[in-house]
């Protein structure tokens, strides 16, 4: 608990002056709010007495009321803004810090957490914190100021009546507190039920082909109805609480108003107080009830806010898991790459994904990795790119253990094309120029005359595709734009790496979704990187594929099977040996001879 508040203080500290001023405004607001009914009552009292003096007095009181009305407009506005806006500031700072921290966390962290969960922390939980420091902060202070002021004004008006009224209102408030807690329990449950319902919808839509093939629509509908029905039943329970439980506090206020009429009226009859006090009292009561209602909601907001803060703290305090770097290394261009008895097991794996893999890639040469799905190819690329952290003493660049090389330096020297190409929802041009500073900044005009870009497009066989896009390079792609085909995405991802062009090039099965004609051209383009125009020196390259045709030109090829190197050698050697590689080569080779219809 304490740590949560320390954490909160870290973010709220800057806004303390605003909160202080807000507190003053809040006091002023409440002072005016309880004064208004008092003045109304006073005016009614003098009017009851009658006479010209009364007329004069009551009209003065009316003018005073106008002034109070103006004042309340100003101070109430200020008090709310001075509490709410710092809440927004804090939400903003928290959000940016969370995101910044998330960016520094590596793959192992993302294997443990789903993106949806993290997005929810960065958006929903920061909102809950904002409500805690804004709305809840305001209400807590408000209650602290307003309840004493209201009680004071009521007591000053008539102590006996105050005691009479407090009884039902207190009961109402206690009931409300209990109801709100139950209500939130149900809301949480209903959110879960809604998620279950959505899961079922998604599951059915995903398996629609199976449903249809087996004419199982009715069963799918029945399964959906289970969830739809349980959600409806809960909603009706929520509705019952909302209709019959929630208004109880308000009703208790009205009951108290009835008591005011009964007991207060009697006191007026007995000459113990003037009749205008009835109006004062009723107005104060209703205002008090309003505050108590807000209090019940606020308690819920506070508990949710604290839970959210805890979740945020957990993410922000996850260490970035980057080893301290003792010496600054500069890598050669191109660097040498060595694997020494590399064995790697995933944190949640039982068996090693890679077992005793060794290789030496001389500067500017190409290492090919061949293997079937699940053989450990991608793991190897991820370790080389330091997406996963290899055990110390197993992966070296220029004779430096990668675990002790600054990650920034290493990545600066590396261009990676991951297996599943990821395009951001921005223009194709910006996706390709991701390597440039500030790729997401709005740039009104961009020249298509970027020579490098054109060269890269040609190398990745993307020119024709770009021509066919509605806005060419300015077409927005990705999730919220034009969806490119798998092959197009792969080529765009390749083009992006070529645009960046670094001395170390890692290609993870990047040609799996392109047809064979294009594959041949792309292989040619990759091969031409040696001494080509895109680079000065040929990069040190590691290329992964399950197709032998992609690997033919590699200086050495490792054949992986279940994480172990089962064969190694040049293409010619491997084919001659007649093992797994040769077998696949024969198989795939005859396929390409037949020619692909296109």
């Amino acid at each position: 608990m304490n740590s949560v508040f320390r954490f909160l203080y870290r973010y709220a500290r800057q806004n303390i002056p605003q909160y202080a001023l807000g507190g003053v405004m809040l006091f002023a607001t409440n002072y005016v709010v309880v004064r208004i009914p008092a003045i109304i009552g006073e005016a009614l009292n003098v009017l009851e007495i009658g006479g010209s003096q009364a007329l004069h007095d009551s009209q003065n009181l009316a003018i005073e009321l106008v002034i109070l009305g103006l004042t309340v407009m100003v101070v109430r506005t200020l008090s709310r803004v001075l509490f709410f806006n710092p809440g927004r500031d804090i939400e903003y700072r928290l959000g940016v810090d969370i995101f910044g921290h998330l960016l520094s966390l590596q793959r192992p962290f993302y294997m443990r957490h789903k993106v949806g969960e993290l997005t929810s922390i960065a958006s929903n939980d920061t909102q809950a914190v904002r409500l805690l420091v804004g709305f809840a902060g305001l209400q807590v202070c408000n209650v602290l100021v307003a309840i004493p002021l209201h009680l004071y004004q009521m007591w000053a008006t008539d102590p006996v009546l105050t005691l009479w009224c407090l009884a039902p209102v207190t009961l109402g408030a206690l009931y409300m507190r209990w109801t709100v807690r139950r209500f939130f329990g149900m809301i949480r449950e209903s959110m879960q039920l809604l998620a279950r319902l959505s899961d079922r919808v998604l599951e059915t839509y995903t398996g629609i082909g199976t449903v249809r093939a087996h004419a199982a629509e009715q069963a799918a509908l029945d399964r959906f109805e289970e969830r739809n029905g349980e959600y409806l039943r809960l909603q009706l329970r929520v509705t019952a609480i909302r209709a019959f439980g929630m208004p109880i506090l308000g009703v208790s206020g009205m009951v108290a108003a009835g008591i005011v009429l009964w007991v207060g009226g009697q006191r007026v009859l007995d000459g113990l107080m003037p009749v205008g006090n009835l109006a004062t009292f009723t107005a104060l009561l209703l205002s008090l009830v309003g505050i108590l209602m807000a209090l019940a909601w606020v308690l819920a907001a506070i508990s949710r806010g604290i839970v959210s803060l805890g979740r945020i703290e957990k993410v922000v305090d996850t260490p970035a898991d980057l080893p301290p770097v003792e010496e600054a290394v500069t890598l050669a261009d191109p660097p040498r790459l060595s694997l020494r008895n590399l064995t790697f097991t995933y944190a949640d794996g039982d068996e090693p994904a890679l077992y005793d893999v060794s290789a030496d890639v001389a500067p500017g040469t190409t290492l090919g990795i061949f293997g079937k799905t699940g053989s450990g190819k991608t793991t190897l690329i991820n370790l080389l790119a330091r997406v996963q952290t290899p055990p110390p003493g197993s992966v070296f660049v220029d004779e430096c253990d990668v675990t002790s090389v600054d990650l920034g330096v290493l990545r600066e020297a590396t261009a990676v094309v991951p297996q599943s190409p990821f395009l951001f929802s921005t223009t194709l041009r910006e996706n390709l120029r991701l390597a440039e500073a500030d790729p997401w900044a709005d740039r009104a005009t961009q020249d298509d005359d970027d020579a490098r870009l054109r060269e890269v497009l040609a190398a990745a066989c993307l020119e024709e595709d770009v021509r066919q896009l509605p806005d060419g390079l300015a077409t927005v792609v990705g999730e919220r734009g034009v969806m490119l085909s798998g092959g197009q995405r792969q080529r765009a991802s390749l083009a992006r790496a070529l645009y960046r062009m670094r001395p170390l090039l890692l290609l993870d099965d990047v040609l799996s979704a392109v047809d064979q004609g294009t594959e041949a051209r792309l292989v040619e383009a990759i091969r031409n990187l040696r001494g080509g125009t895109l680079t000065n020196e040929s990069p040190t390259t590691v290329i992964v594929s399950h197709r032998t045709s992609v690997l033919e030109h590699a200086d050495e090829i490792l054949v992986l099977d279940h994480g172990r190197v089962v064969e190694r050698g040049t293409h010619a050697q491997l084919v001659a040996r007649g093992g797994l590689y040769a077998e696949t080569h024969l198989h795939q080779g005859s396929e390409s001879e037949g020619g692909e219809p296109s």
Partner: protein, 634 residues
């Protein structure tokens, strides 16, 4: 499948997703038709709806009555010193409070119940409709947007039904009855009190409109920021590999400050609107006191003190709901947009369905096929995938279909199961009992009747997150719950042992079958076939690599399935091809050769070539490569 969708989605962004534009008049007209259509969903729940609506005037009456009772106490009971009368009045007041509470609670419950029940029906209707949409629809629409229609949009509607519409209605009635009471009691005082009303009206309108604009901007900014966040996290590795962390963070901060600016300004306006109400109510009471004072202060003036009491009470309540109006109207507008999107989906034409008690046209079908000059294309402006295929399948015959990727063999199965309609040429379902019965044309058989006889098993097995029993029966009446039949089906495909070892039919397969291996999942899919005993089986043999033990079981299971029925098998295994009675070799949408294995091998044509390759298709990852090629070609 995803790739075919991607190529076309560029051109076919659904018109329903476009935000509502166009002239106001048209929009109002459409609002009425939206409502009329919505009524068809609400009709079954009209009892709750109407009884809720009927209570609104009672609630309004009660809440207007209370101040009148106070007036009576102040004007009659107290000056008259009538203690008993005062007590009676107070009791009446308490009675009114309780009655108002009960009526209001019941009204609220009834209306929300009607609302939620209606939404429940809408949700079911949408879901049931999507189940019946043709495959082509799924090719052109992302799963995400369909999910949104069924859940998020319906939920937006639900929120409005429960909070927006009905509270606005009851607020209006209450305000109206208060106004009536005030004008009846004293038109003069009412007019005096409401001299501030025009000011109020303009302020609320002005501030409210500005606030709405800002809130729109807030939502946009927020959506932008959240969208960016989600995408960056999804692609976080790329961001890191390209060293773009700082830029991403800066961009997030930029998007965040846009949101921050908008929300801060919205806070100012919101606070102002809130404070305005406090102020205005004080002003109107001040006006009331100032101008009424001369008449009250004078003995026997036209205005009684009690009247002032009543007016003070009314004035404190009458302005309250106004500030909420604009916000509620905005939710209603959002709901209308959701409703429009939902209708857009419901208007998509669904697959044909047979009449509920229609005769089964295939009741005596023995599984013969008579295909002549079959032509088919996925899109009207696309290339033909099948270009005039003719072949026959005799009842009980096993026909293997082989061909390269893109030859049209998968499409053939999709046409014969009516997953895709619109073929040209003829597909006759022949062999109905006694010889000489006429062939039934495929396009005349409603899909769900057809699929009770023609079953297609696809390469990628889809398992529901449920138990083994459900995954085999798929809830089919007569099958679900009949453990004996289900186990027998599992036995046929040699999966009974595996299933029993795991805990029997009630073993949960996990999300997308995570608790089973790929081979075991295959076997379950085969058990579905064995349990249904289709007349014609279309089997798309999987190429996925399973361990050799399971592989043997899969082989054996396939062998079982091929017996006793007509089978069209898209073959990838040599053993399957050899087992077939006849082999159909497809190339570019045409039948290149057909015959037995021996005949075709002797032919030394395409088949012999494919045979050399082992009929495989790489690693089986391009299961829909034929469509993909097509998409790429466009």
């Amino acid at each position: 499948m995803s790739d075919r969708r991607s190529a076309s989605s560029a051109t076919s962004k659904s018109p329903a997703s476009r935000p509502d534009e166009g002239p106001t008049a048209a929009r109002q007209a459409s609002a009425i038709s939206l409502l009329r259509r919505f009524w068809s969903f609400a009709r079954p729940h009209r009892r709750w709806l109407l009884s809720g609506l009927a209570l609104i005037p009672i609630v309004a009456g009660m809440s207007t009555l209370r101040p009148l009772l106070v007036k009576h106490a102040v004007d009659v009971d107290i000056p008259g010193g009538d203690a008993l009368g005062l007590r009676l009045t107070a009791m009446a007041f308490l009675g009114a409070v309780i009655a108002e509470f009960l009526c209001q609670a019941t009204q609220m419950y009834a209306l929300q119940r009607a609302g939620y029940s209606t939404i429940y029906d809408v949700r079911r209707t949408v879901f049931a409709h999507v189940l019946r949409l043709p495959n082509r629809f799924f090719d052109n629409h992302a799963m995400g947007s369909l999910l949104t229609r069924t859940t998020t949009d319906v939920e937006a509607l639900s929120e409005t039904m429960s909070f927006g519409v009905f509270t606005i209605l009851s607020d209006i009635v209450i305000i109206g009855s208060i106004l009536v009471a005030m004008f009846v009691l004293s038109p003069k005082l009412a007019l005096i009190s409401f001299t501030v009303a025009p000011v109020l009206f303009f302020l609320v309108r002005y501030v409210g409109a500005a606030l709405r604009r800002l809130q729109l901007e807030v939502r946009k900014a927020q959506a932008g920021q959240t969208g960016f966040l989600a995408e960056q996290l999804a692609g976080v590795t790329v961001v890191q590999l390209f060293g773009r962390e700082d830029d991403a963070r800066n961009q997030y901060a930029r998007l965040g400050s846009r949101y921050l600016r908008a929300t801060k300004r919205a806070n100012w306006l919101d606070a102002l609107l809130y404070a305005l109400m406090d102020g205005i109510s004080a002003f109107s009471i001040a006006l009331l006191l100032y101008f009424a004072a001369p008449e009250v202060a004078v003995e026997n003036g036209a205005i009684s003190l009690g009247l002032l009491f009543a007016f003070v009470d009314y004035l404190q309540r009458v302005f309250g709901p106004i500030k909420e109006f604009s916000g509620k109207l905005a939710t209603i507008q959002r709901a209308a947009a959701s409703l429009e999107r939902i209708y857009g989906l419901l208007d998509e034409p669904a697959e044909d369905r047979a009449e509920p008690d229609a005769r089964d046209p295939l009741a005596r079908w023995k599984g013969g096929l008579h295909v002549r000059d079959l032509q088919f294309r996925y899109k009207d402006d696309g290339p033909d995938v099948l270009r005039g295929i003719s072949f026959d399948v005799a009842p009980g015959e096993v026909v293997a279909v082989v061909g390269r990727t893109g030859s049209g063999k998968s499409s053939l199965g999709r046409v014969i199961t009516r997953f895709y309609d619109g073929y040209r040429g003829s597909v006759g379902l022949t062999g109905h009992g006694e010889a000489g019965t006429k062939a039934v044309e495929l396009r005349d058989v409603p899909p769900e009747q057809l699929r009770r006889h023609v079953l297609m098993v696809q390469q990628d097995v889809f398992l529901f997150n449920d138990d083994v029993g459900f995954n085999v029966s798929l809830g089919e009446a007569g099958l679900a719950g009949d453990d004996e039949r289900l186990l027998r089906a599992l036995r046929v495909v040699q999966a009974e042992g595996v299933v029993q070892a795991r805990g029997g039919l009630s073993f949960s397969v996990g999300e997308r079958g995570d608790n089973l291996s790929a081979g075991e999942a295959q076997l379950l899919a085969f058990a579905r076939v064995a349990a249904r005993e289709p007349t014609l089986l279309i089997l798309d043999e999987a190429t996925a690599n399973v361990d050799s033990l399971t592989e043997q079981k899969v082989q054996a299971a396939i062998e079982q399935l091929l017996q006793g029925r007509s089978v069209l098998v898209i073959a990838h295994r040599l053993s399957t091809v050899r087992r077939a009675d006849r082999i159909l070799v497809l190339s570019e949408g045409r039948v290149a050769e057909q015959g037995t294995h021996e005949e075709l091998m002797a032919n030394k044509g395409l088949y012999a070539e494919l045979y050399e390759m082992g009929f495989g298709e790489g690693e089986g990852e391009d299961k829909d490569k034929d469509e993909k090629d097509e998409a790429d070609r466009e």
